[in-house]
Symmetry: C2
Subunit: 160 residues, 2 copies
DNA sequence: ATAATTCATATTGCGCACAATCTAATTTTG
DNA sequence: CAAAATTAGATTGTGCGCAATATGAATTAT
């Protein structure tokens, strides 16, 4: 009876451990994403951007004149998120949304002169974040690669 | 002039690299959080919970009869997020919200019998996530610790 | 060529997430 | 003790994030 009790107690402990908030990598990722957001906020306020808008601008600074779909694939976001966000960026005159004449299903997103110009102001952002992370570039890059590889495995499961 | 040109080109490249989407650890964290959310969704649908609600339940399964503030500190969320979320959990009869008689500023959150019972059904969740991550427990824990340490450094900067 | 399917985007509805503001209760201070 | 400051929580408004659905254009299959 006692030995059974011990076995049960150990089994419970294993399952209980798995349900502990502290042990959940997902909560670590979730809460870190929020922490980043809060660190970015004052920096991005100066640019007049939210963090998701900043991500869209980063993507466009690399390559613009692209359909919404393309942005969605690069950022892992769908049209329900991007359409209103892009309309706000258009209202801020950072981008233009034009229906493609070749394939009228496509809405092409292009930077305005202002949108291009904002890139210069944005250059100070990454170094501020680096400082806040109190981490070396090497450590951060290594960690980033691990996280990305985890993300890609998760997304692979979803694709099945 | 040519050497100056090279120097400028190198400087630009360094700044440009920092603005690349791929190089941003924050985007890695952000997109991984979304990937986790999408993997959790079908599992949590069976429990009738969203991911943030699941986090609240995890916290309560560890310790309930706590004020909203306490939950907020454990989850890094504020009352603007928690109040409506907790009202939905109350509507689902998983928790009870009662104003403390000792300090009437406090709203104490306690699990109902249903809320307690849900814990058993939730025990299958972590192992499903582990499988989806295609990662060993050891690797995940190591990664989790790194991410948490990064999060805590970011939060420390915010606290200044 | 027409019908069926697929595709890109938009819309709606719900649930976070957080800043800013408000109310009411407690604590601190003079 | 009374005034001031602090605290806990609720409310409001804005912006994601995504599921479900709708619309219209392009592709394909017949």
């Amino acid at each position: 009876m006692d030995s059974m009790g011990i076995i049960m107690a150990r089994k419970q402990t294993a399952a209980d451990q798995a349900l502990r908030l502290d042990n959940q990598i997902c909560f670590a990722v979730y809460s870190t994403a929020h922490a980043f957001n809060r660190v970015y906020k004052p920096l991005l306020d100066r640019l007049g951007l939210t963090y998701p808008q900043y991500l869209v601008m980063l993507a466009l600074w690399e390559r613009d004149d692209v359909p919404v779909k393309d942005l969605g694939e690069r950022l892992f976001l769908d049209s329900g998120t991007l359409t209103p966000l892009l309309k706000r960026l258009e209202a801020a005159e950072l981008i233009r949304r034009t229906r493609s004449t070749e394939d009228e299903r496509l809405v092409l997103i292009a930077l305005t002169a202002q949108g291009q110009a904002l890139r210069e102001k944005a250059k100070v952002v990454p170094q501020s974040i680096l400082a806040a992370s109190a981490c070396s570039v090497g450590e951060l890059l290594a960690m980033k690669d691990e996280i990305v590889s985890l993300r890609d495995r998760l997304n692979a499961v979803l694709g099945e």
